[in-house]
């Protein structure tokens, strides 16, 4: 274990190496480029492959191919590149190809402000790709957590045979702080399940195990299987049969469900809180400071910080947030995750979105002002 001062993007690359990543295919884009830069340095030295592709579509394509060949594969990008990857993300979900996609959020839409932070891709991460699919999206709030969650992202991708998205913003990407670079034990690094039957007629490539995951051999292991973006049956043959299609779609959704029990939210001083901030990523750190300062001023505030944005941690949300009369959902966008809170909050709870645009993070004072105004006037009046 080493304690070092590293940036978020560097921590992401170091976490990937610790997770056993051996393939990166990407295209540089601010503010994510240092992930690629660091892996361009680290991967070749450690027997891995770094590949710069012609664009983001090619990037994720190369990652999917590498993964099917048995590699632990990833890419990193920002909003515009993430948009270009959405087609392949949907493909990876249906074809069940493990991979990790890092999206370092900047101000958008379009080219926007390439060098300034935002949290505008929360809904893109959820609904960016067409069709009806479940996704896993992790949201770290510190450099330490970026390191740890990159390892977790690989574990989830491998175990559940699915793409996993890690999103954070430009501030977390470039800030440096103290990180303990704990090297995980080999047995804590999950690998995709392998078929228990030998190659041959008895092998059904999309027959799920007890976790709802179909074992995946590497290309070249001797198994014949078809990888397709068409709906398929257990044999991998395209199908239009309603029953087979709905079974497959349900299995792909259901296999993600345990994740909400694995990746728990952070609950900070919520036990007796009258007002709960709901915030993730860098904004959660600002909110945490606001909680302490509000309590010093006599306002009982607390913080609910989802570490997993999708699938939504429903049970914990209701259990932890149920007591507060007011929830202020703070995010650097025009209101995205607030929709989740509105949907899940008890009827008695007032839910308000507090956005921040323009490329500067929320400040502690801004959140304190919102809370103080609400508590003075009473949420109902507003």
């Amino acid at each position: 274990m080493a304690t070092e001062l590293v940036s978020g993007n560097e921590a992401c690359a170091r976490g990937a190496m610790a997770a056993g990543c051996n393939f990166f295919g990407g295209y540089p884009i601010s503010p994510s480029s240092e992930v690629a830069e660091a892996l361009a340095r680290l991967l070749p030295k450690n027997g891995g492959v770094f590949l710069q592709m012609e664009d983001e579509m090619g990037s994720l394509g190369s990652v999917l191919g590498a993964s099917l060949g048995g590699a632990k594969a990833m890419t990193a990008t920002s909003g515009p590149g993430f948009t270009l990857m959405q087609e392949h993300l949907g493909y990876a979900t249906l074809a069940e190809i493990p991979c990790v996609v890092v999206d370092v959020m900047r101000v958008g839409p379009s080219t926007g402000v390439p060098t300034a932070p935002s949290q505008g891709d929360v809904m893109q991460a959820r609904w960016g790709s067409h069709g009806d699919r479940a996704v896993i999206v992790l949201a770290p709030a510190s450099v330490q957590e970026i390191y740890e969650m990159t390892i977790i992202a690989f574990n989830l991708a491998e175990r559940l045979r699915t793409p996993v998205v890690l999103i954070y913003d430009e501030v977390l990407a470039h800030m440096r702080e103290r990180v303990e670079l704990l090297v995980p034990h080999q047995e804590d690094l999950w690998r995709r399940p392998k078929p228990s039957v030998p190659p041959g007629p008895g092998y059904r490539p999309y027959l799920a195990n007890e976790e709802g995951v179909a074992p995946l051999p590497n290309f070249g292991d001797g198994y014949r299987f078809h990888v397709t973006g068409l709906m398929h049956d257990e044999r991998g043959y395209p199908t239009t049969q309603a029953k087979a299609v709905s079974q497959l779609m349900s299995r792909l959704k259901n296999k993600m469900e345990p994740v909400t029990e694995w990746i728990l939210p952070e609950s900070y001083r919520l036990e007796d809180a009258d007002l709960a901030f709901v915030a993730y990523g860098i904004t959660a750190r600002v909110a945490k400071e606001a909680v302490d300062r509000l309590r010093d001023a006599g306002i009982l505030a607390g913080l609910f910080r989802p570490r997993l944005l999708w699938p939504v941690p429903v049970t914990d949300f209701q259990k932890l947030l149920g007591h507060a009369g007011i929830a202020v959902v703070a995010e650097m966008n025009q209101g995205q995750w607030v929709e989740v809170v509105e949907r899940l909050a008890p009827r008695s709870m007032q839910v308000l979105g507090q956005g921040k645009l323009g490329g500067e993070p929320m400040t502690t004072e801004e959140l304190m002002n919102v809370a103080e105004t609400l508590m003075q006037k009473g949420a109902r009046v507003l």
């Binding site: 001062l5 390439p114 060098t115 501030v171 800030m175 702080e177 103290r178 945490k288 400040t363």
Partner: protein, 188 residues
């Protein structure tokens, strides 16, 4: 809880990123919590670029601040941009060769670049002289740790110069501090 929000400002290329790295590494070595944030993209070039460092003896919740408690301004532009937005009772260290800032009560004007040039024949080491000055003002980082960090983080060939520059800044600031303290005693 002890916490200090420091903004290092100047023109891109004056070594503010390195100054932040040296302060942060020394703080890490001294067992403190630390975060750094710096201008990114076009802001990091020319004009008024900044490197923000937060030091604390506890976990730092929020690395982002708008009103620093300690400002270093190496040029006029960065003083103009950040000098008007300081925390209450803040201190500012400015390079008197380049910055006109005499009216501000908490300002300490020192000829940082000239000191580096005269003593070390390297005016580019003004950033490290400033680190030494800041070290004394912080009163949390021992000189040995700070000088060692300057040595280890220096670009190749600048190890000794940067270490010496930190020591220079430190000793000059100690003398000023000693003078101020004597004045106080004399006045009372």
């Amino acid at each position: 809880m002890w916490k200090k929000e420091i903004r290092l400002a100047g023109s891109g290329g004056q070594g503010l990123g390195l100054a932040a790295t040296v302060l942060a590494s020394a703080a890490l070595q001294a067992g403190l919590y630390v975060t750094t944030l710096q201008s990114y993209g076009p802001e990091a070039r020319g004009g008024a670029s900044r490197s923000d460092v937060t030091l604390s003896d506890q976990d730092i919740a929020n690395p982002w601040f708008s009103r620093p408690a300690l400002l270093l301004a190496l040029n006029q532009k960065s003083w103009a941009k950040f000098g008007g937005n300081l925390a209450e009772g803040a201190l500012a260290v400015v390079d008197s060769n380049w910055v006109e800032a005499h009216e501000y009560p908490g300002v300490l004007a020192l000829p940082l670049e000239q000191m580096a040039k005269a003593e070390l024949r390297e005016k580019i080491a003004a950033n490290m002289v400033a680190v030494g000055v800041i070290g004394v003002l912080l009163d949390r980082l021992p000189l040995a740790i700070l000088a060692e960090a300057a040595y280890l983080k220096a670009p190749k060939g600048f190890e000794r110069i940067n270490k010496a520059a930190v020591e220079l800044g430190w000793h000059v600031m100690e003398q000023i501090k000693g003078g101020v303290e004597r004045e106080h005693i004399g006045g009372a």
